[in-house]
């Protein structure tokens, strides 16, 4: 049994797919690529794939991950080639490597995400000041809405980096099993409207120690 860790890029309009739709799309991609994915036993067998944290709808990404268990041994090169041919426009394979015995799964590893966010031209001074003010707060209450119900959460502990270079924000935010802060939420706390956002790009997903998974 071997497990491969795959890293892929998702760019363009396909980033408007929801996380769930994308999971379903991957099932079909793997079938088209004839990748021998292991199946779980039992009543309702499913493919053994573990995905990294959900990507907010409309956010492009340079590095998304999944771990996939194979029924039979395969060369990384063959695997990558077969898979690449079956990908829809906008998704491309970045990196594939075997996961060693004892390594943690992707789901357990990811702890934070880096983002680049471009917004409409703003008065740079003002934004810089807003960032300083925001980060100075001990608590940043934010109302998260979801079909399961709304609740107020504190975003502050989940914001690790927040910078502005006059055109683009750089953010490092909490992501993974212990929770999520989304770039959209941070922007809203800075008083920047969704309408003013030009592009959101996830540039990396990282482990708690800052290393790539």
């Amino acid at each position: 049994m071997s497990i491969f860790r795959c890293c892929y890029r998702i760019q363009g309009n396909i980033s408007f797919l929801s996380h769930l739709d994308l999971l379903q799309a991957w099932q079909r991609i793997l079938r088209r690529a004839k990748i021998p994915v292991s199946m779980s036993q039992g009543f309702n067998p499913h493919t053994k794939i573990a995905f990294g944290p959900a990507r907010p709808v409309g956010v492009e990404s340079l590095r998304e991950y999944f771990d996939i268990e194979l029924q039979q041994e395969m060369e990384v090169a063959d695997f990558s080639q077969q898979l690449s041919l079956a990908l829809p426009e906008g998704i491309s394979l970045e990196e594939v490597r075997p996961v060693q015995v004892g390594e943690k799964s992707i789901t357990a590893l990811i702890a934070m995400a880096n983002y680049s966010v471009w917004v409409e031209a703003h008065n740079g001074m003002d934004i810089k000041k807003r960032i300083v003010d925001l980060l100075a707060k001990e608590e940043i209450p934010y109302l998260k809405t979801s079909p399961k119900g709304d609740k107020i959460v504190n975003l502050r502990p989940g914001i690790f980096v927040l910078e502005w270079d006059g055109e683009m924000f750089t953010m490092q935010l909490l992501a993974g099993n212990s929770g999520h802060v989304r770039p959209e939420e941070v922007l809203s706390c800075l008083g920047i409207e969704k309408e003013e956002t030009k592009r959101m790009l996830r540039t990396d997903l990282l482990c708690a120690d800052g290393a790539r998974p």
């Binding site: 309009n13 408007f16 991609i29 079938r31 009543f43 409309g58 906008g90």
Partner: protein, 622 residues
């Protein structure tokens, strides 16, 4: 042009629900080069992406047109209400999913007429595209065309279209596009083109027909002008093995209604149910061979990655090689985890066996359509099903482990009496009792459920019941109420019915004529759209729209038509003669059956002789 695409990405997609439905980009999508392609067509489905993508006809035509080097076809669908509002606010016109271009920039814009309640969406989409709604107001700009079952009585939408295509489009559409391309190059006027196009078999140009009405509001005459054919006959493919079928399927990235690969096994049905329009307009039966189907399945599975394959037709259990096909498909693909599904079951034990064979996982419900509650009524509608059939089929289903049975019935059929209504409940109760007995014998603990679904009969053009005036709303409601009360007395029996107001308007449009164009326009102006969706359907607005135009839906829906009455679709033929339909109507009233011509002598509907085709069965399986 690129600018529009970027605006869609920036100004629309981040702000709407489920934006993934608007992005296209499906695997196997075809995006041809705009500038080097001569003739561009946009295919518009007058409902959402989720529904439209389940429609096989579009997938076939997508493949057929794009296979031609000189043509391209891109898709567009009705945006949901929030998306539409945003588009209007931002001034972004309706666009195509492939390249994000304005629909208005295409040479031809084609709709499919699948159900009457989507007509208001057609107007809404034309408006969103910035195309004048009325054909007579369009001097330049795209040619607006339509096909699909609704094209057999397109009169209610005749004002909005330049032409309609009757019957199967695989050959007709490319012919039409080629003719239009030639005409464009020659710099002909739209009118000159239409006069010529009317000579292509299967093309109906409504502006070339003058309709006059009598004092009583009934049509006096339908008069062809400028050499328009007196009767337009549908197009039909004689051999489905030779018909073009996609070897690559678009694989949607978001959830759609039928998210599976579709294998069309045959076209047409000659069972002759008298209420069924599809059973008339798609005649005769033409099957594909097992070899052909396996070849198509192979290619499609390989290029799509689908895990389920639906065997599609009007009645797949009637396919003469169905056993052979299913065995072969299961042999080949079940190891790879590909499932086979049957869209509809015939009411018999054979069909239950088929369902059992393809059933992959957990057993849930099975659906049967006896359509009527008594033998007398089933004879009237020529549904060749007996109580015996229903009981054996449902017994077989219960014994084989299904615990939920759904039964479909219609109310408001011609000659219906209270006995026929009681028959519905009686039959359902018998099914339920059988189930309980079987459960007791076998020690099954799972609770059984029989649900009865009752729809109100809508008389359709081109059927033996086209002359029949629909039951009034009050009658239908009373019948629904009566049934509901009866069903209440039984545990484990549930009964539901559809909104009869919808059926009423459907009947008006299905039997309506050109004058309804004004009503449709009015209703759309007053805010009607997505009428097929309960949450958007505005009955009162429709009634107001009728009144504002000086018409009533009652006139079109309730009137029993005379034998000699000029029907609004008299000049549009699927090859089945009006004479035969009338004969069937009389037989219905006499409770007399007509046998399926697949396994019995020709009953004389006329399509084979008229259009030079034949029932084409590929197996001996009779």
């Amino acid at each position: 042009m690129v600018v529009l695409r970027e605006r869609i990405t920036r100004e629309l997609l981040p702000f709407v629900t489920r934006p993934g439905q608007y992005i296209g980009g499906e695997y196997n999508q075809i995006v041809k080069d705009w500038d080097s392609t001569q003739l561009k067509m946009a295919f518009l489905f007058p409902d959402t992406y989720e529904i439209g993508m389940s429609f096989v006809g579009m997938r076939i035509l997508y493949h057929v047109v794009n296979a031609q080097p000189d043509f391209l076809l891109e898709r567009s669908f009705a945006p949901l209400v929030d998306m539409e509002a945003r588009m209007r606010e931002k001034g972004i016109p309706l666009f195509t999913w492939e390249s994000g271009r304005a629909v208005k920039d295409f040479d031809v814009v084609g709709f499919t007429l699948q159900y009457e309640m989507s007509y208001s969406n057609i107007l809404n989409m034309l408006d969103l595209a910035g195309i004048p709604l009325l054909a007579k107001d369009r001097v330049s700009g795209p040619l607006v065309v339509a096909g699909g079952p609704g094209a057999f009585n397109p009169e209610p939408v005749a004002d909005f279209f330049d032409l309609f295509m009757l019957g199967e489009g695989e050959e007709l559409l490319p012919e039409l596009l080629a003719a239009y391309e030639k005409s464009k190059q020659a710099g002909e006027s739209k009118h000159d083109f239409l006069v010529k196009a009317a000579q292509i078999p299967g093309v109906y140009v409504p502006s070339l027909y003058q309709v006059t009405y009598g004092e009583d509001g009934v049509i006096k005459e339908i008069l062809p002008l400028e050499n328009g054919p007196a009767v337009v006959y549908k197009r039909v493919l004689p051999d489905m093995d030779l018909a073009m079928y996609p070897d690559k399927e678009l694989v949607p990235l978001t959830q759609v209604v039928h998210d599976r690969l579709v294998l069309e096994v045959m076209r047409g049905c000659t069972r002759g149910c008298r209420f069924c329009q599809a059973g008339i307009i798609y005649r005769p039966v033409r099957e594909k061979s097992v070899d052909k189907l396996i070849q198509q399945a192979d290619a499609l599975l390989e290029s799509s990655g689908y895990e389920e394959m639906g065997l599609m037709s009007l009645s797949t259990a009637d396919y003469s090689c169905v056993n052979e096909l299913i065995s072969e498909l299961l042999d080949r693909y079940s190891e790879e985890g590909v499932g086979v599904s049957l869209p509809s079951l015939r009411v018999d034990a054979f069909s239950v066996d088929l369902a059992e064979k393809v059933q992959k996982v957990r057993k849930s419900g099975l659906t049967f359509a006896p359509e009527a509650g008594t033998q007398r009524m089933r004879n009237v509608i020529n549904k060749g099903v007996t109580e015996e059939h229903v009981l054996t089929a449902t017994k077989a289903a219960f014994s084989q482990g299904w615990s939920q049975i759904k039964l479909y019935f219609m109310i408001g059929l011609p000659t219906e009496t209270k006995e026929d209504l009681d028959g519905i409940i009686d039959l359902a109760v018998k099914v339920l009792q059988n189930g309980k007995e079987i459960a007791r014998e076998k020690g099954i603990r799972k609770p059984l459920k029989v649900s009865v679904s009752v729809s109100s009969f809508v008389p359709k053009s081109h059927t033996p019941f086209q002359w029949f005036g629909q039951n009034t709303l009050a009658e239908l409601k009373e019948k629904q109420h009566y049934l509901k009360e009866q069903a209440k007395q039984y545990k484990n029996l549930s009964l539901n019915y559809h909104q009869s107001e919808v059926s009423f308007l459907e009947a008006a449009f299905s039997r309506g004529d050109r004058r309804l164009g004004q009503v449709l326009l009015k209703a759309w102006e007053m805010g009607c759209k997505f009428d097929g969706w309960t949450e958007h359907f505005k009955y009162q607005t429709w009634i107001d729209a009728f009144a504002a135009c000086g018409y009533t839906p009652e006139f079109f829906a309730y009137r029993e038509m005379d034998k000699d009455e000029v029907l609004p679709w008299q000049h549009l033929s699927c090859g089945v003669s009006q004479k035969w339909l009338w004969h069937e109507w009389q037989k219905a009233l006499a409770e007399d059956l007509t046998a399926d011509c697949r396994h019995n002598p020709c009953s004389g509907c006329g399509v084979c002789q008229k259009l030079g085709v034949d029932n084409d069965l590929k197996g001996a399986g009779r």
